[in-house]
């Protein structure tokens, strides 16, 4: 099918052109700009020499790791429950849990403000109990809640699909051989889910690392990597630092996703 080969080349050309012009070239520019500041090519080292940036990087990594672990823990419980229980309204519950899938980060930020902001529902609730108004939207805790809100539906979609495919006979066999419930969970159920856990955990981590909208809505003062890049670029016009930080961020998220994709064999996208 020679002529088909020619057609394939013809079909790929526009894609190549677009990717070259608007992806490869801009990224090259980003690398160049990062090396064009007063520190030259050492801008990357300059980031690491700046304690504030290191602190931000560590905080962002810790926050993202924490969100991933929390999301996976909750997601596993919910996915196993929904995969094994049949009840009226189950479909509705599944829809409710996955509907926020395409809420962008800004909207998620607003949801957290409504929940835990100055006039939030939680505050009103704790006040009605006679306690202080509970307000945590505008801090790291608010960001944590926001990223949890963002990641939970995504993780659930993957984990529910994986939990449906688990073979219940394996667990029954383990139980009949005398394994405790905890042992079955540890040695049978969780290993069965592990590809899905790795894949969806990586997505949760990568989205939390790069998420900007939620932090932007909640507070410009939370020191996470995305906010630092934004302020360096727009307020301080410090293009070299912003570029170097963006590249570092891009490398981390891409690296995590690439690594886990090879481990888990799937590459669900990190959106938002």
């Amino acid at each position: 099918m020679r002529s088909a080969d020619r057609l394939a080349v013809l079909f790929l050309a526009p894609l190549f052109a677009f990717a070259a012009a608007f992806f490869v070239l801009p990224l090259a520019e980003l690398v160049l700009v990062a090396g064009s500041g007063p520190n030259g090519a050492f801008e990357y080292l300059a980031i690491l020499a700046n304690p504030r940036h290191v602190q931000t990087l560590v905080a962002t990594l810790a926050l993202s790791a924490g969100v991933s672990v929390a999301t996976l823990a909750l997601g596993t419980v919910v996915a196993l429950f929904l995969a094994r229980t049949r009840f009226a309204g189950r479909a509705l519950l599944v829809s409710a849990l996955t509907l926020p899938l395409a809420f962008p980060g800004v909207v998620v930020g607003f949801m957290i403000i409504l929940l835990a902001g100055r006039q939030g529902l939680l505050g009103a609730f704790t006040q009605s109990l006679g306690m202080d108004r509970l307000v945590f939207a505008y801090s790291m805790a608010g960001l944590f809640a926001g990223y949890l809100y963002f990641s939970l539906p995504r993780v659930l979609v993957t984990l529910m699909a994986a939990a449906e495919k688990l073979d219940p006979a394996l667990e029954e066999a383990a139980r009949s051989l005398g394994a405790s419930r905890l042992a079955v969970l540890r040695d049978v159920t969780l290993p069965g889910l592990s590809p899905a856990l790795i894949a969806s955990g990586a997505i949760a981590f990568a989205t939390a690392m790069g998420a900007f909208g939620t932090a932007f809505t909640l507070a410009t003062r939370i020191d996470v990597l995305a906010m630092t890049i934004y302020t360096e670029f727009t307020l301080n016009a410090n293009f070299a630092t912003a570029s170097a930080l963006s590249l570092a961020l891009g490398l981390i998220t891409w690296g995590v996703l690439a690594l886990t994709r090879n481990m888990a064999g799937t590459g669900v996208a990190a959106a938002g």
């Binding site: 057609l7 526009p14 799937t266």
Partner: protein, 269 residues
Amino acid sequence: MIPHRLTFVLQLLVTLACAAFLLVPALASMLAGVTANYFQGLRSGLTLRWIGEVLALYSGTIGLSIAIALGTLGVTLVLGVPAAWALARKPSRLSRLVEEVVTLPVAIPGLALALALILAYGGFRAFRMSPLFILVGHVLYTLPFMLRAVMAVLAAVDVKALEEGAASLGASPLQRFFHVVVPNAKGGILAGALMVVTLSIGEFNLTWMLHTPLTKTLPVGLADSYASMRLEIASAYTLIFFVLIVPLLVALQMFGRALPAAPAKGGRP
């Protein structure tokens, strides 16, 4: 296995708590958008006043977002569907590399992509100031989703055999593409299209950096209203966003189910 009583109750509670965490703020926001005074609650009565104010203030952003989403859809269809066929046809090292490069924008945070675009093209003022600049960003970000959705279907429905059949009957490659490949990939194209439109309408990370005062999209306007407007107006605006996005999501869930389970595996040998 009969579920353990206590485990069952705990699991149920966690599930309900998660559902409440996700749903309650969304419902509160919808309600706040049509409540006369959110702080007095429903007693203050229901009103469409805030919706009206949002439409007066921000209708331009809604129109622009829809236009950009449709434009993005058009470009991703033209660039993505033929390329998906070309990539899925002969899974080779080259096609894997191309797939990797093209899907990379998904893994790189929007903020970094936007910065790169601005540094490379910010000097071209006419381009920088036009909605096309945002369109390019959206295409960059959504193209991988279109590619993957179409490639997944092509991998699932052995198009090769159908194509060979058509070829033996004398159909040219172009005829085969339009009369055999495209009809058979319809499900994937539809799912990809819904995904592209949904993502484009909600995109903020790239768009916030790429927009100008004259090219504000809906999510940019939302961020603006969250920062500077009263809660009812912000909520009414969010409600309008939900009205746009929720039907797309429901359609996506319906058509997404018809697709093979792991879209990303498509095209991999």
